[in-house]
Every structure is written in C-alpha cells, then in structure tokens.
C-alpha cells in the first residue's frame, strides 16, 4: 500500500433526556408518527425555543469525560437549509463557540496506545425523519417529526486515525464513555449513536492531507470498517489512475458495502450561520462545571486500573468487566457480598454472560440472578454445601426460576455428600463393577484414574465431594 489513510469522525449522539432540547415533547422512540409534536418542534408560526437545561449538563459531562475545556459563553446559531424533515428551515446548532473544545481520548490497537484529539463537541437539535412509508397508492415521501428537536451532541474528532481499526477503537471507546455517563442509550440501530467519517488518502510519508470524502449513514461498528475500507480502495484507484478525489458527501449502502455520491442532491450549500435571536447566551460558571465533575461516574479507564490494582484482576478480565457500566456494577455489587474477586469475575464472565447471551442477549441489568443471589450461590459453594459442578446446575435453575440457591438445593436434594462412609460404599461398588479397569490401573495405566472419579460422581448424581472421592479412590486403588 503506497497510501496512508487519514480518518476523522463526526459522531452524533442522541441524549437520553426525557424531553426535547427546545420543547416539552417526549423523546421516546417508536411512537405513532407525529404524535410527539407541539408548536415548537413543528416549527409553527410564533412558537419559540427554550433550552432544556439537562442538555447543557450532559454536554458538560461529555466534555469533562473527554478531557475537553468547557466554553464559558455559549451561543446557539441557526444553520439555514431547506429539507422536509427540518421544520423551521434552519437547525439550531452551535457554530463558532461550541460548548467543549480541545479534548482527547486514548485508544489501543494491537497493544499500541494512541491519543486521538477531539476538536469540539456541540449541542444541536435533530431533524425529523423522512421515510418512504408503505402506504398503498402513496409514492411520495412522508415526514415524521417525532425526532425533530431531540437533543444531540455532535462530537468531532481530529483527523488522527490512520486505519479502520483505529477508527473502530475510537468509536467503541466513545460509545462506552457516553453510555457510562448515562447521557446516551448507545443504540446504533435506532440511530442514537450515528457516525459520519471523513476519509482521505495521502502518499505514505507525506504530511499533506489529500482531499476527503465525507461518508454518511453508517450505523454499526461493522459498517464503519466496511465503509472506510471501500473508500480507501475507491480513492486509491482514482489516485493510481492519476485522477483527483472530489470533495463530496457519499452515502454508505449497507446492502452493497459501497459508498455513492450524493452530489445530485447537494446543491451549493451556504448555511448562513448566525446567532439565533430567539435564544440567549448560556453562561457556564466554574461552580457549575465543578458540580458536574463531582457527579461524574468512575470512567472505564479508571475503573479498569482499580480492578487490577485493588482486586488483583488480570488486565484481560478487568477490560471485559468494565465493557459496560452495568456489567461492572454487577460485578462490584457481587464482590461487595462475596469478596473473592477472582471467583466472582470467573462467574460473571462465564456463567452469567453465557446465560444472558443465550437469552436473546438480555442486558445484565435485567439478569434474574441478582448480585445478591449470585453471592449466595458462591457462598454455598465456598462452604462446601454444593460442588462447583452442582453450582452451575443451580445457577441455571436460579436463572430460569428466580429462586434462591438454598431453596433449589433443598428442593432438588443437591447437598454435596462429604460423608466418607457413604462415598466409600460408592467407591467400593464402582471398583467392584470395573474389576478389569482396576487391574489395568494397577498394571500401570494410571490415566484410568479419571474414569473412576467420573463413575463415582455419576453414582452420586454429582453430589459427592470430589476431594473426598479422590482421596478414597487413591487409597483403595493403591491398597
């Protein structure tokens, strides 16, 4: 490859406020078209916007979590363009004074750490949706304004990424952070976390960026990779043929994995930004910033480090557990009741995760086995009441029924048998039935030991204490 790709990302995150940014309509997804509208978000004559304070609060959170400086005096501007999903004929956004500037995020790709600059974060309103509704006899486009005026943060990175993998690492990191902050639900399919990518090529070794294309409509981590890879190929071909890349907006088509030009639609745009006279400046005091800072949750990076240093987890385990705030919380809540971090971590990453995955990727917050129940189960195991193997059976039952482990153990008679007399009887029976294998073992085929253990455990229906079984078998076989 003789070209170096240069990637900058613009992410639109929809904020999880109850109401829209400039009016009191609900932001709930999936309601009947146009049912969540009012004079303000319909852009009716005479209606005026009033800023939802929570949006500012969320924007400050995002800025602090991404190491940005917070702008003291914020002004909203009108971005003028006509489109049927834009009720007022302008979008209220921020232009020359975005609320957050000059931040960064650290990413890691194949063991290599890298810092990605964040140019700016600004607040703005979303547009509505233009859909081709499946209505008989209607070939027109249809407009649903439920989404119009919902709050967005646009997070713009520096063109610091040099591979699709770096772009994905950055996006995943950002996604994780906004979810941790509780400001975005992170739902890519519903469009709560949308990404546009600016992609250009330059000769390897050059420091002068090439002409970029802006890729739109990318709504999954998988597609971002596809879109960028396709774009690298496309631009490289043009450059190889001695052509010039045109600066333009290109739409990603997830069906074909390709991008296509939107030039036809984009006639000379001149957004004519100017300060919105219907809104007043937002002044953010140091007090306000410090208050928000004080309320920030522990972010994944800090949490991971703490899990390693305080709880002695491996880097891998720590990384997996901090993947989401809810998972980390579940882990920590369990550890608080059963302070053996390693065991808890194994269970959370093992049984708990598997059960949730098998259950339609149910979220950890909705796991029927709560941290308290899981801790109870682990305590039973620790006391020797049940074996590790039985514990897994009990866990599955707990997941299905929501019952306490004690109740399940009692109902199903799963208490571990540690009584030497009872186990000895079973051992004797197994050795007697398998005289041939006993002879082989004694003749030197020691690998058969596992076979005897298995037979005894089966006879006990898994309830025999494995340590006792081992001890007795060894004694009898050698004897």
């Amino acid at each position: 490859m003789k070209y170096q790709v240069v990637i900058g990302l613009e992410v639109h995150t929809q904020l999880t406020t109850n109401t829209k940014i400039f009016c009191g309509c609900s932001t709930r997804f999936g309601a009947e078209p146009n049912s969540q509208t009012c004079p303000v978000c319909l852009g009716l004559p005479g209606a005026l916007p009033v800023l939802n304070r929570q949006v500012v609060e969320y924007a400050i959170r995002a800025g602090l979590a991404t190491n940005c400086s917070i702008t003291k005096r914020n002004v909203f501007a009108r971005k003028n363009y006509f489109y049927p999903d834009l009720p007022k004929g302008y979008q209220i956004s921020q232009f020359d004074l975005p609320i957050c500037q000059h931040g960064h995020l650290d990413i890691e790709v194949e063991g290599e750490k890298k810092r990605i600059g964040i140019t700016r974060i600004h607040m703005e309103e979303d547009a509505g949706k233009l859909v081709h509704a499946d209505i008989p006899g209607v070939d027109d486009s249809c407009v649903d304004l439920n989404r119009a005026c919902t709050p967005l943060l646009e997070i713009v990175s520096e063109p610091d990424m040099r591979s699709p993998d770096e772009a994905i690492a950055y996006l995943k990191k950002l996604h994780q952070i906004v979810m941790y902050l509780g400001i975005c639900d992170g739902n890519l399919e519903e469009g709560s976390f949308r990404c546009d990518a600016n992609v250009s090529l330059m000769p390897v070794g050059s420091t002068v960026f090439g002409t970029r294309a802006e890729l739109k409509n990318i709504n999954s981590f998988k597609f971002i990779k596809q879109a960028i890879e396709y774009e690298i190929e496309r631009q490289a071909e043009i450059l190889d043929d001695g052509g010039k890349v045109v600066q333009e907006t290109r739409l990603f088509d997830p069906n074909t994995g390709t991008t296509r030009s939107m030039r036809g639609k984009e006639e000379a745009h001149d957004y004519r930004y100017f300060p919105d006279p219907d809104l007043v400046p937002v002044i953010i005091s140091d007090d306000w910033i410090e208050k928000v800072r004080g309320g920030l949750p522990e972010l994944p990076e800090t949490k991971r480090a703490r899990f390693m240093s305080e709880l002695g987890l491996s880097e891998y385990d720590a990384e997996v557990l901090v993947a989401s705030r809810e998972l980390a919380q579940y882990f920590e809540d369990t550890v608080a009741l059963f302070p053996q971090a390693k065991t808890v971590s194994n269970w959370v990453m093992g049984e708990v995760t598997r059960a949730l995955n098998d259950d339609n990727n149910r979220s950890i917050a909705q796991c029927p086995v709560t941290p308290a129940l899981l801790a109870d189960l682990l305590k039973l195991m620790e006391k020797g009441t049940i074996s590790g193997k039985i514990a897994k059976t009990v866990f599955d039952e707990m997941y299905k029924t929501g019952k306490t482990p004690e109740k399940i153990v009692e109902e199903k008679g799963l208490v571990q048998v540690s009584d030497t007399g009872a186990i000895e009887a079973m051992v004797d029976e197994v050795l007697e039935k398998n005289a041939g294998q006993v002879a082989e073992y004694r003749g030197g085929k020691e690998t058969l030991f596992g076979f005897f253990v298995g037979q005894v455990m089966r006879a006990s229906k898994g309830k025999a204490n494995p340590a006792v079984v081992n001890e007795l078998l060894l004694k009898k076989l050698q004897g």
């Binding site: 009716l44 004559p45 005479g46 916007p49 006509f82 004929g89 100017f274 219907d278």
Partner: protein, 485 residues
C-alpha cells in the same frame, strides 16, 4: 357618546355599574365594524360568533363580581397574533388558511382577563412595511382620510381605534410598526422595552427587534393594556423576569422637574412644517408644565436605517424559512418535485415586499458577505445603543417626532422601497436600542391629518413615558377628536 366610542376604562365603569353588558358592547362593536369597515378594511377576519360567546362568559363573570379591567372589553388583534381556532394570516397569502392549534401568551393573558376578541386586524405582510399596503388582503385606509395609508405595519390596529371599530388593539413594533400608525391615525401606541411582553405566539419578523404593545384611545388605556400583557413568560427565552409595575399608579405624577431631552439629529431640515410646529408646541407645553428641556445628541442616528435593514432582513430570511408548504400554509398545486414545491409555493405565497426582504437578508448572511453586512450592522447597533444610554445619563425621557410627515397617500411610496424605509428614521433607533417609546396625539396637519409625538424612555422606563404622555394628553385633549367616519 356611543358604546364604541368609549375607552377601556370608561366602558369598564359602565360594565361594572351594569349600565351596559359585554354582549351589548360587543354587538355595538360588531355592528360598527359591519357599518364602516368596508371603507377602512381594518379587519382581515371578524369573529362574531366567538366574540359573543366570550361576551356572554364575561357577563357571567361580571355578574359573579369577578370583573378585571379588561373583562368584557371588545378588542382587536393584529393578525400576527396566533389565535387558537381562529385563522391567523399575518397579512400573507401563504397563511391564508392557517388555523393555529394554540394561543400565544399575550392572547392567553387577554382571555384570562375575560377580554372579548372581535377579530384579527389588517397589517403589512409579515409586518414588513410602513403603510399596510403590502397586505395580501388589500390596503387598510386611514379613517381620517381614506385616500391615505394608516401607516404600518400595524395599520389595521391603529385604523380600528380611529374608526372606533375596537375599544383597544394589540400590535407589534419592529421598527416603528405600532408608533408610526398610531401617529398617523391619532391614537396612542406604545412599544415596550424588548423583553417586557412575551413574543410567544407572535409570528416572528425580526426576533431581536419585535415587541408587542397596545394601541388605544388614550394614555390610561395604554397603561392598562400594557399592564395586562406585560410580564415574564417562561416560553420566551428573551422575556425578562422583572416585576411589572402598576403603570396606572404613576400616571398623574406630572412632569415637573422631569428632564426631557431633544435629540438634535431628530430636528432636522426636511421635517414637514406641520410636524415641526406640533413639536414646537409640545416642547413649549412641557416647558410650561415645569419640565426641564435640554438638547441631547444621538450621533449615530443616521446609521440606524441601514443597520436596521440588515439586521431585520437577515433575521427575517431565517424566520420565514418555515413557510415551505410542508406542515401548513400555501403549497403550489402544479409543483413538480421537491425543489419546485419550495420555490413555487414561496413565490406564490409571499408578496413583493416580503420577497425583497428575504432576498436582502439572505444576501447579508451569505458566504463572503456576513462580516461586511451582518456583523458590521450588529457592531453599529452597539454604537446606537450606547448613544441612548449616554443620553439617558442626562435626561429621563426623549421627545421626538414619530415620522417626518403625516400619513402619506396610498401608492405614493410603493415604487421606491428605500424612500419608504427612510420614513422610519425616528422610530427605528428605539428598536435597535431595545428601549421603549410611545406615540401620543400632538395635533393635526393643515390637511387635517393627525400628528404624533414620540416619547422615548430608558430600558424598562415605561412608567416615565406614560407619565409624560398622560400630562401632555390631559393638557391638549387632541385624543378626543374623532375621525370623520
């Protein structure tokens, strides 16, 4: 004295004393509209059914002893005020059939007091004009001389007072649109300080300049109606959260010792001799009442019109982008494709003055011109505002003419927009400075046309200008003269 001749406070006394009912007063007003409005064309929409229902309701409240100053009073609204269930056109074809689903704040406050809304008044299209000639619903005529314009843009609101087809009206003032027609029609018109009255539910022309205000028969009514609609509104971010004083309480304080400034840039060559004479007489009267008259300077006055036409048109170009034929308003029937739907609907829906201002504003904001025009104008606005703040360090109130001439003939200035714009030279600076001004009847021209006097106050100095206006009115009685209709 007919019922329709009465002021708010006079009719209020009669309603309170049960000498007359609100239904009677409303019927009298509707009959008067029926009788004379075909000559004046002050109304775009008359709402007799709703008005009578409101009047009956008002009478019930009065019977229950719950009378507020505006209960049962027939009022008219400039058609820029959004009214729930009542067509609201803003004088434009593009909103010819628009029936809003909500009431604006000022309208809601009037309704809370039990005022009776008799109809929606004519105006320049989207409040863009100084003569009411840009209305899609035909020009409104000046009741003092039907061949003259009533001024604008709140022409219908002023003409209805002069024609006695409303007891009081509300208008809006962006560059003089309340004060200038009030002056031309011989009534009292007050533009409050920016932020004093909510703009929620007022169709926007230029958002940083628009302000709602009363047009009334006398100064007392002006104080009353302002008091009813003024005050903080959480639905308007630019509404100011300071208490509303009792404007009536300070009316009769007198002007003895009040420092009144005469901005020298407003008393220039080219002032119509009748206007000049009326100003001289007013100054002499104030002097005789014990006011302290001084000359002051507003050095950047000559830049006001240019500044205004950049800022107002730029804001308007964005404010009027929502008229796109998608959610409401006119849509061209034969448009092919989206692009044509926009450009044809807007071309058919807007009149020439509105198009001209949208074009001018779009240009002023466009790439490469923004700094030269818009930012420059905003900086000059700062200088103009400073002029006023400096003047108000020396005086309490400014006294100026409202317009260089009395009402002009219909069609006289239509061909030359710039000349029309320049006639607003004395009112525009007040909007740019964001402060308050009132127009009070101050005599008549040789041809019998009313001449208004402007009193300009400090920001939130409505009390001072009302006091000064009241003293003048009490001495002169110009407001009692009736248009020959």
């Amino acid at each position: 004295m007919e019922i329709f001749d009465l002021t708010i406070h006079e009719l209020h006394e009669k309603l309170k004393a049960k000498e007359v009912s609100s239904v009677e007063a409303t019927r009298a007003m509707l009959d008067r509209i029926e009788a004379v409005d075909s000559q004046v064309n002050a109304y775009i929409t008359v709402t007799p059914e709703q008005a009578l229902v409101q009047a009956e309701d008002a009478d019930r409240r009065i019977a229950a002893g719950e009378i507020a100053p505006l209960t049962g009073i027939p009022v008219g609204l400039k058609d820029i005020f959004v009214t729930k269930g009542i067509r609201t056109t803003c004088g434009s074809r593009i909103l010819e059939n628009f029936v809003p689903p909500y009431d604006g704040t000022a309208v809601a406050r009037l309704k809370e007091q039990g005022a009776v809304i008799v109809g929606k008044l004519n105006q320049d299209e989207f409040a863009m004009g100084s003569s009411n000639e840009s209305s899609y619903f035909g020009p409104c005529k000046n009741p003092w001389d039907l061949s003259c314009t009533p001024g604008g843009s709140s022409g219908g609101s002023a003409a209805a007072i002069a024609a006695r087809t409303a007891t009081a009206t509300l208008g809006t003032d962006t560059g003089g649109s309340i004060r200038q027609p009030a002056s031309h029609c011989g009534c009292v018109g007050l533009k409050p300080t920016y932020g004093r009255v909510s703009r929620y539910g007022v169709i926007a022309y230029a958002s940083s300049l628009d302000q709602v205000g009363p047009l009334t028969r006398d100064v007392t009514d002006s104080a009353l109606l302002l008091g009813a609609v003024a005050g903080y509104d959480p639905r308007d971010s630019t509404s100011v959260n300071t208490p509303v004083p009792d404007y009536l309480a300070s009316l009769a304080k007198g002007v003895k010792g009040m420092k009144i400034g005469l901005p020298k840039q407003y008393f220039i060559e080219g002032l119509d001799p009748d206007v000049k004479r009326a100003m001289d007489e007013a100054i002499a009267l104030y002097q005789s009442l014990g006011a302290d008259i001084r000359e002051v300077s507003l050095p950047n006055t000559e830049y006001a019109v240019a500044t205004y036409y950049i800022i107002a048109t730029a804001e308007a170009s964005a404010n009027l982008a929502r008229y796109d034929g998608v959610r409401f308003g006119h849509r061209a029937e034969d448009a092919r494709g989206l692009a044509q739907m926009y450009s044809k609907s807007r071309a058919e829906g807007f009149g020439p003055e509105v198009k001209r201002r949208i074009m001018l504003g779009t240009y002023a904001l466009s790439s490469g011109y923004y700094d030269a025009y818009y930012v420059k104008a905003q900086k000059v606005r700062t200088l103009i505002q400073q002029d006023f703040l400096n003047a108000f360090k020396e005086v309490d109130v400014l006294l100026t003419p409202i317009a260089p001439t009395p009402a002009f003939k219909i069609a006289e200035k239509l061909e030359d927009p710039l000349q029309m714009y320049l006639s607003d030279i004395f009112t525009i600076p007040v909007n740019l400075a964001g402060t308050c001004g009132i127009s009070v009847p101050a005599g008549f021209s040789a041809a019998g046309l009313p001449i208004g006097l402007q009193l300009v106050g400090k920001p939130f100095g409505e009390q001072e200008i009302l006091t000064a206006a009241y003293s003048f009115e009490r001495e002169t009685k110009w407001h009692l003269k009736k248009a020959p209709l």
